[in-house]
């Protein structure tokens, strides 16, 4: 099997999550204005302070837009986005007060079934609590009661605003302020919903908490906002997955995720991103412009990001960690696969502020078809970060001669007692390795899969079991051409 054939097969394979669910949607008219921001806020019956915050973000965004401050530094290209052409809110109608699953629209449930989301009762026993977000609105939060018994709050942000305003007010925007960047400003103005998690001191969350995002309505953007707070000595593992129907038009997904860990707390955050990537010619697909950042506020705390990025026409995403507490730990494990005309510019920022902080970055990029994959990362050691450590490893695998793999790490060290190491390599699947495997009776395709599985293993093994299975399945699907 020649690599040309592999590439062709990779290019032509389909997107398996591309159906549209036929439910009645209630959406905002297209366009972005102060009225729309007020309309969203009113729709969600938000308190005055939140509306004010949204409006401040909105004004900041409009100023950035006017000054043409939209980010252009990433290694991606797309036509200018018309922020007035899309709708900033879409919700399945009618909105129900949901108590149990049978109240959820059957069409939506079927959608999630097709996606393989363990939304049903028996799946709860499997240990996963799911908050599913359909377009802009949180549809269902499962296992809420189980979690509530331990004092854990797991709800949509909208609910949290009503039920725990003091927590939301204190932490919303504390890690990613609305002025952080262009898309964070937009998100802060129009964010529709998202998940809110609070783990009280000393509690180890008994379930994997999970959110599933799906963009259904055409011409809508999704702007979810996730906020997770792990109080002293607590632990939580959080998973998110994403998909969207196949459409000819590009849809914008500009999310913000904020994580905060207090002393001795730990958050593990895993993402499997499989938004619709567009067709083979690069038509349609999701623009995934996401700001994710965690703050290790307390000593000995830990934040770990794991991501498997296989979807989206464009991915622009840098899950970062501010290592503020002494001895805090930040981790970033990433697999990014581009195929067709996909573009990914992704990486992380590790900012070492406290003493003896350490960070690890493992990034594995796979480029096929006409895809372009960029790792962009910053490791910054501030003057007070005595004894800070970083280890970075970014590897790229190229399949075919029409794709690109790029590595753009920034390392800034201002403390002499710290040590930073960065290693990177770029190569193709080794002919020798394929030959070796073939000698032992494997087909060329099986050999290739085996090698790619080995290539991403360091990252995939970090995922919780259910997600590791899904990640492997996704990668296999995306490399189906090569597997034969």
């Amino acid at each position: 099997m020649t690599s040309k054939e592999t590439v062709r097969e990779l290019e032509t394979q389909g997107y398996k999550y591309g159906w549209v669910t036929d439910v009645e949607e209630e959406s905002a008219p297209p366009g972005l204005s102060e009225d729309i921001v007020r309309w969203i806020s009113a729709k969600k019956e938000e308190p005055e302070w939140l509306l004010e915050w949204r409006l401040r973000a909105f004004r900041h965004f409009m100023k950035l837009l006017e000054d043409k401050q939209n980010p252009t530094w990433a290694n991606v290209s797309h036509p200018p986005i018309d922020f007035q052409a899309m709708s900033y809110y879409a919700a399945p109608k009618p909105k129900l007060e949901l108590e149990s699953l049978d109240q959820v629209d059957a069409e939506i449930l079927r959608t999630y079934e097709k996606l393989g989301i363990p939304l049903e009762e028996q799946k709860r026993l499997a240990g996963v609590a799911v908050d599913a977000i359909f377009d802009s609105v949180s549809v269902m939060t499962t296992a809420k009661d189980t979690l509530a018994k331990q004092g854990i709050i797991f709800s949509s942000v909208s609910e949290a605003v009503k039920e725990h305003p003091e927590l939301v007010k204190k932490y919303l925007g504390s890690v990613v302020p609305y002025s952080d960047n262009f898309y964070a400003a937009l998100n802060s103005a129009v964010f529709s919903d998202g998940s809110f998690v609070y783990i009280p001191p000393g509690v180890r969350c008994p379930l994997e908490i999970s959110t599933y995002f799906r963009i259904n309505a055409e011409g809508s953007g999704q702007f979810e906002r996730t906020l997770i707070i792990a109080d002293k000595g607590s632990y939580v593992s959080y998973l998110e997955g994403c998909s969207a129907p196949m459409r000819d038009t590009n849809q914008l997904h500009a999310a913000v995720v904020e994580l905060i860990t207090m002393d001795d707390a730990e958050i593990k955050y895993a993402t499997i991103q499989n938004w619709y990537p567009g067709d083979a010619d690069g038509k349609g697909g999701i623009y995934n412009f996401v700001t994710k950042r965690g703050k290790c506020a307390g000593a000995n705390s830990k934040i770990s990001w794991t991501q498997v990025e296989t979807g989206s026409a464009i991915t622009w995403k840098y899950p970062s960690v501010l290592l503020q507490g002494d001895n805090s730990v930040g981790e970033f494990y990433s697999v990014a696969l581009v195929n067709g005309r996909q573009q990914a510019d992704t990486g992380t920022k590790m900012t070492h502020i406290g003493k003896n902080t350490s960070s690890t970055i493992i990034s594995k990029g796979i480029s096929a078809g006409h895809g372009n994959n960029t790792y962009r990362g910053l490791v910054k050691i501030l003057p007070k970060a005595t004894g800070a450590r970083n280890f970075t490893r970014c590897d790229s695998l190229l399949i075919g001669d029409q794709c690109g793999a790029h590595t753009v790490p920034y390392i800034e060290v201002e403390n002499p007692s710290s040590s930073v190491e960065h290693e990177a390599s770029t190569t193709k699947v080794s002919e020798e390795q394929v030959f070796y495997a073939q000698q032992r009776g494997l087909s060329a395709e099986a050999a290739q899969t085996l090698i790619i599985n080995g290539f991403v293993r360091d990252v995939v093994k970090r995922l919780p079991l259910e997600f590791a299975v899904e990640a492997n399945r996704l990668l296999e699907l995306n490399l189906e051409g090569a597997v034969g």
């Binding site: 060290v413 403390n415 960065h422 770029t426």
Partner: protein, 454 residues
């Protein structure tokens, strides 16, 4: 904005004055080259923007731009200059010396007499290296100079390159004819008197053309006799013909108050090999842009560098290796030692263009941070558009191994010497990449002296 305009306007005025004075007998192509470069510089301006100015993200040249540097006074006679500290430990064979931008015949070697150099015959010889002046080569309209000057470091190389080209009148022209192998190092020495009274600007220019299957070692040195502030805006163009083997060492020991900005562009033909070694031991604000174009298959480049940060020194090395064709290789090692309040910047960009299969590219940058005030910024950047390649890069920032320090101290070696020994060991790899014995010895002595001076 208006202050910015005056900064460039000052250079424009100096340019116009220089063109009026005695540029008339220069060939038309050279006058046009200068004029176009000045227009380009005026258009681009100094890269002083602090937002969205990625190539100058870590290096702020606003103080350089706003200082009113003047051209050195050419009417003043050169005083006695003792060159013995700069002697290589080998016989002087090919040596060109420029003092404050002016050619110093009494300090340069024969061949030959001035008269002999200044003739067509000198520039047309085929049996040995031509180590001459750009001014004379331009005067006789030597084809190689017309063909290459300003062609490898053009407008794309940035405002500082354009500025140098706008003022190019003299400099060193080194040509190695086909098949000629030069056993002795060719030594190009640029000296600044660095008098404190008034800050001067010079535009050292070097053009090296190595013919088919030729071989040579060139040492380009920047030295300072005083501790005043001045601005050196240097440009070196290196053209390696098929199968040529060229080693180019740059030793920079400007004054601590000096601004040193240099651009080096290398273009390599089939099966040529070029090794560059950039050693920074001086300067206040130092910036190097080194670009290597591997234009034909089989070309191989080795880029090495070491920088020593002391006091408030700021050293910024930008390198760019362009794998434009299949089957070329590059290997890069840069090492930095940063002490006091110094800052070292390394941005290494390797580009593998579409179709450049079988590329092998390796790059490493390592930094030793020796004090609380020092900072290291490193950005090893890979941009790859071909699949059948082997590319790696690595970067590290750390400190001296405490166990090694303890070992040396336990054997009665004092703190300072132990440190110097370990640091010397750290940079040894770079110095050892110099193949020529005399140049390596000389460079090593310079490095050791600079380390001890602290």
């Amino acid at each position: 904005m208006s202050a910015q305009a005056t900064d460039e306007a000052r250079y424009l005025a100096a340019f116009e004055a220089a063109e009026r004075n005695g540029a008339a007998h220069d060939p038309t192509w050279l006058r046009e080259l200068r004029r176009d470069a000045m227009a380009e510089f005026t258009r681009a301006g100094f890269p002083t923007a602090r937002r969205g100015n990625e190539p100058w993200k870590y290096t702020d040249v606003r103080s350089l731009a706003s200082t009113a540097f003047v051209a050195p006074d050419v009417t003043e006679p050169l005083g006695e200059i003792d060159l013995s500290p700069y002697d290589l430990p080998c016989p002087r064979v090919h040596q060109l010396v420029f003092v404050d931008g002016r050619y110093a015949p009494q300090l340069s070697t024969d061949p030959p007499s001035e008269g002999e150099r200044a003739s067509h015959v000198f520039f047309e010889r085929g049996d040995g290296p031509i180590v001459g002046r750009i001014a004379e080569a331009a005067h006789y309209d030597v084809p190689l100079v017309r063909e290459h000057l300003g062609k490898h470091a053009g407008a794309a190389a940035g405002a500082f390159t354009s500025l140098n080209t706008a003022f190019v009148r003299d400099g060193a022209f080194v040509s190695i004819p086909d098949g000629v192998s030069v056993p002795e190092p060719i030594y190009l020495l640029f000296i600044s008197t660095a008098r404190p009274e008034r800050p001067t600007v010079t535009y050292p220019r070097v053009l090296i053309v190595a013919g088919r299957d030729s071989s040579a070692t060139v040492l380009v040195s920047f030295e300072s006799l005083g501790d005043g502030a001045y601005f050196t805006d240097a440009v070196t163009e290196i053209v390696a013909g098929p199968g040529a083997s060229l080693r180019c060492i740059t030793l920079q020991r400007e004054s601590d108050a000096a601004y040193h900005v240099s651009t080096t562009n290398v273009t390599q033909a089939r099966d040529s090999s070029v090794s560059t070694v950039t050693v920074d031991l001086g300067g206040g604000l130092v910036r190097h842009d080194l670009s290597v174009l591997l234009a034909e298959p089989g070309a191989s480049a080795s880029l090495n560098g070491l920088y020593l940060g002391r006091g408030k020194r700021h050293v910024d090395n930008h390198t760019f290796v362009d794998h434009a064709v299949p089957g070329a290789s590059s290997d890069e090692v840069y090492k930095g030692i940063l002490d006091d309040d110094s800052r070292g910047v390394f941005v290494g960009h390797v580009l593998v263009r579409p179709g450049a299969q079988h590329t092998v590219a390796h790059q490493v940058n390592k930094n030793l941070l020796l004090s609380d005030g020092a900072e290291a910024d490193t950005q090893p950047k890979l941009e790859i558009f071909a699949d059948d390649v082997t590319c790696t890069h690595g970067a590290a920032v750390g400190q001296l191994d405490p166990a090694a320090m303890f070992y040396l101290k336990s054997r009665g070696i004092g703190e300072a010497v132990a440190r110097a020994l370990l640091v010397h060991g750290f940079v040894r790899e770079v110095v050892d990449s110099i193949a020529d014995d005399a140049v390596r010895q000389y460079t090593d002595d310079a490095v050791m002296a600079a380390l001890r001076a602290g």
